[in-house]
């Protein structure tokens, strides 16, 4: 009858809105210690989901849309928790739409389909509405027009803020659906991930990240 994660959820700190946060309320190490209370199955689901939906940059991040879709499809075969699946599908939809918005002026729709085929449920719909400013999806995803305007203005920070805000709201709703359940735990985890990513956006870190990427490219070639 008792919720399995009532103690775990109560032990997690309050996360301020990511834009207003000055520091992270919990370190990765401390968060991982708290997450030891997860059931083994749930812990595995979260680890799999982190690879697919983590915001923070990592060297293991897929380099192409095709790679992203392949990883997504492989990961989703093992994700069974319904709310987590729904969230990951939402993230995939979001990534696919953004990819489409970025590439629209560069590639044909056939090339786009080829890259993201098998990922989001909206791929064919987007391709069939390739010339529509919002792919005909603005009613479903009201953030698309704003995202498009940020992309046109080359405002990467504004775009990130928008997308992070959309995900943040989605995660807040997921957490409210079961305040002491696994939903609340993974919602906290991904919100914390967003907050970390937002806080990491400073010039020095961007420079070191850029240097890491340069090194990686050199090693690949």
């Amino acid at each position: 009858m008792a919720d399995p994660y009532i103690t775990l959820v109560s032990s997690l700190p309050y996360l301020p809105p990511f834009e207003k946060a000055e520091r992270s309320p919990i370190t990765r190490l401390r968060l991982e210690q708290r997450l030891h209370d997860l059931e083994p199955g749930d812990a595995r689901q979260l680890a799999l989901a982190e690879v697919l939906a983590s915001w923070r940059m990592s060297l293991a991040k897929p380099k192409t849309d095709k790679e992203m879709v392949l990883r997504y499809r492989a990961g989703m075969q093992e994700i069974t928790q319904p709310a987590l699946r729904e969230f990951l599908e939402f993230r995939m939809d979001q990534k696919t739409i953004l990819s489409g918005l970025r590439q629209r002026n560069v590639v044909f729709e056939s090339s786009f389909i080829e890259q993201v085929h098998g990922g989001s449920r909206w791929v064919n719909f987007i391709a069939s509405h390739w010339d529509h400013p919002d792919f005909g999806l603005a009613a479903v995803y009201p953030w698309i027009p704003e995202a498009r305007s940020f992309l046109e203005a080359n405002d990467a920070r504004g775009l990130d803020r928008l997308i992070m805000g959309v995900i943040w709201q989605r995660l807040s709703r997921i957490a409210e659906s079961n305040i002491f359940g696994f939903e609340a735990v993974f919602a906290f985890f991904f919100k914390w991930d967003i907050l970390q990513a937002w806080l990491a956006r400073d010039a020095e870190k961007a420079k070191s990240r850029f240097q890491e990427l340069i090194k990686e490219v050199k090693n690949d070639s």
């Binding site: 919720d3 009532i6 103690t7 959820v9 109560s10 700190p13 708290r34």
Partner: protein, 148 residues
């Protein structure tokens, strides 16, 4: 038929206490789990959270009092009344304690992050307590009408 009616009377006699205690166990366990989690996150005011976690224990006390009020020699005349009154009062205590445990856990969860809402966040748990008191008081009033 007579033994069955008398058995129902015994069930009704003990139901307020037993069901109230079951509800308190569940409610206190839930709220207590939340309190333990909160203790990891806060630096002071530990007693406040443990105190809130104990709120669902009141239903057991109400159950004891109702059981004592119903206590009498069981007969064919009074057993059906004791069964009905005792069972329904017990169910009210059971559900009241579980609901209060949920409300207390939610209160602990929010007030550990925002201490200034501690008092107001207890309002839902206090409301649940009020309904338990209604069930308790009217069980006592109606118990007086059951034949001795």
């Amino acid at each position: 038929m007579e033994p069955l009616i008398l058995a129902l009377g015994w069930i009704g006699l003990y139901a307020p206490l037993a069901l109230g205690a079951v509800g308190s166990m569940i409610g206190c366990a839930r709220a207590g789990s939340a309190a333990c989690g909160a203790l990891l996150e806060v630096e002071s005011g530990y007693g406040r959270y443990i105190g809130v976690a104990a709120m669902p224990s009141s239903q057991t006390i109400y159950g004891i009092v109702v059981t004592m009020a119903l206590r009498r020699d069981l007969t064919l005349e009074n057993s059906p009344g004791i069964f009905g009154l005792g069972l329904l009062a017990g169910l009210a205590m059971l559900y009241g304690a579980i609901a209060q445990g949920n409300a207390s856990a939610a209160s602990i969860n929010v007030s550990k992050s925002k201490l200034e809402v501690f008092g107001i966040s207890l309002a839902p748990a206090a409301l649940v307590e009020g309904f338990s008191v209604f069930a308790f008081v009217f069980a006592l009033v109606l118990a007086a009408g059951i034949p001795k």
